[in-house]
Symmetry: C2
Subunit: 371 residues, 2 copies
């Protein structure tokens, strides 16, 4: 597999771009030549604990890394851990010219990016995603954040990496469920932007075909965030499936993986699109069949356990709400969402979300009984 | 006094500017018309406790403000307080379209700006400085931050306000020492950029002349940060006096006011400039005489109490250090600093800083004995 790269515009400076370099077993060389071409005072690695235990020898081949290990899991993504990492950087004598390299999934990337955005008002960072989800989604677009008692990602910033190294080698250590978790976001990219890509994703494909599909998703996401880095308009379409999806994820106490919650969310929001007369009913049914066939409607028991009240609370406190109105991205057809030149998400009344949730519960029930 | 305003470029967007509106007793009207011209979902005030107790009636004249009161003093500028304010915003139902208005000195502005930069990855904020120091310095330039156990402002961000309202009315409630504290930064602006302004500041002036002098400083600072918002080059010159100044302030446990520490710092760094053959010796002596005459070399006892070791530690951990080298801005003459097109601060060996500190101690001793 050859290395390919994509330039993404940095929003805060007129002519600056950062590359996403995609390849297989190329991270050390790509990172080394990046470091050589800059004059960083120090290079610090922030590595996920599980990734480190699997890839220790590989990571330690990089010359003289100072490594900070982060316990795996979403519970690490908090302010206290951010401050611990800042303490580590201080003790290592990091200054404004130091570089932070994050190696791990979304938690390491979001938390590391958050720290890099705040340490001395911002230092450079390189992101090396090691999961499908972070490779196609969270590593692209500069969103950083931590979870607080007030909400997930309620506290965060936009801070763009200097370089993203997407090395599919790291996916070798990823469990199948985690792969599927990320695959849902690829399906979302297809649904909002590219019908042909959706067809590609829905037919069985081999291990060898993964890289080109991953790359396709990286391109779709990069092109969207580049046009609207701070989510004022176009970038909102990436939230398709995420209004109901986030609410389900939160209501389930994060026992359901993000991707699977979003899969349920996409069906729910496709239902809302039908209700609004925007999407054809038969396309909704095709989606449901496709999602079932590809095992994306995972964990129906989780949906069945939830009540409308459980889901209602996080919906009413969604970060995307404006003036207490719940907003949602609506699907027009496969590969296209409803939008005007200035509106990409739409406020809908609470009652419709309740109907959508009941619709999801019915699917979950049928699906659960048939298995 | 007529209202005047200044447009400052927002670095992250190509054609966006934010205004600094300068006047007397105009804040309510200026803020009201700004709010009217936007569609904020909520307006929240963050107000310094002392400012609120003095200006309560005035502030409550603004229609329906939700007010969060912040205890006065630098100790409020920490992550815990930031999280408390975030909790307040959450409870008030603030969303991405809400506005935070800060009313107070540097602490309220820096902390409020920090919260505004992180809440839901950034909301709009308006800064209303109520001290000389915040009016001419911290309210201009988008630097936000909190103090942590690892250092002052070690954690922060760049987040530019949508509007700054510089209302000299609020200075009525300011003690004389606090006025002088801010006046030092005005002298710094003059020293690095405008000899004529320096002369104006050094002769006795009346209360009536304050506004035009304050306005001059706002202009100098705004023009500098506009050219280099993220302190990659030119903006560094604003750090004149701040390498030794910060170290003294830190070593004294913040018992000396920021401005007075910077006044000592400027003399120390002018001494370094002489040592480097950049500044004429007689100009250094003029500066010392001018500073003494204008009571800027305040609290010589504080300097006398400090040892070199006390000052050395914070110098070695200065946020502006690069690769462990202490950096300093050097004065060439009154109104001009040494620089090339790419270098605005210079690394000097530790020993020279020790010499400069001894020089300051000698001045402090003479000054103390003569009073």
């Amino acid at each position: 597999m050859r290395e390919i790269s994509l330039k993404v515009k940095v929003p805060s400076s007129r002519n600056a771009y950062y590359p996403i370099v995609f390849g297989n077993n190329h991270w050390k060389q790509t990172l080394a030549s990046f470091v050589e071409n800059h004059t960083f005072s120090k290079v610090i690695f922030l590595v996920d604990e599980q990734v480190f235990s699997f890839w220790k020898e590989e990571i330690e081949q990089f010359p003289h890394p100072e490594i900070c290990i982060l316990p795996s899991g979403e519970t690490s993504k908090n302010l206290e851990k951010a401050m611990e990492i800042i303490g580590f950087l201080t003790r290592q004598g990091c200054d404004r010219k130091s570089l932070l390299v994050t190696l791990g999934g979304g938690v390491v990337g979001d938390l590391g990016g958050f720290v890099a955005s705040l340490y001395m008002r911002g230092i450079a960072f390189v992101q090396i995603p090691t999961t499908v989800l972070s490779l196609v989604d969270s590593s692209i677009g500069g969103k950083t954040g931590v979870d607080t008692s007030y909400g997930k990602n309620l506290v965060g910033s936009f801070h763009f990496p200097s370089l993203v190294i997407a090395d599919v080698m790291f996916l070798q250590s990823l469990p199948e469920t985690q792969k599927k978790n990320g695959y849902v976001e690829m399906v979302k990219h297809a649904l909002i932007a590219d019908e042909g890509y959706y067809r590609q994703l829905m037919v069985p494909f081999t291990e060898k075909e993964w890289p080109s599909l991953l790359w396709k998703s990286c391109q779709i996401k990069a092109r969207i965030v580049e046009k609207d880095p701070r989510e004022h308009h176009l970038r909102q379409i990436l939230n398709f499936g995420h209004t109901l999806g986030h609410a389900i994820e939160h209501a389930a106490g994060y026992e359901i993986l993000h991707g699977f919650a979003v899969a349920w969310g996409m069906i729910g929001e496709a239902f809302l699109s039908v209700k609004q007369g925007i999407l054809r009913q038969d396309i909704l049914h095709t989606l449901i069949q496709d999602f079932k066939k590809n095992s994306l409607l995972f964990s129906p028991q989780t949906i069945l356990k939830l009540s409308w009240e459980d889901v209602r609370y996080p919906l009413l406190h969604d970060k995307k709400n404006i003036r207490n109105h719940i907003h949602v991205v609506l699907l027009e057809k496969i590969g296209q969402v409803k939008h005007t030149s200035c509106q990409y998400s739409y406020p809908l009344p609470e009652e419709l979300f309740q109907e959508a949730f009941v619709f999801l519960k019915n699917i979950a029930e049928e699906w659960d009984e048939s298995h």
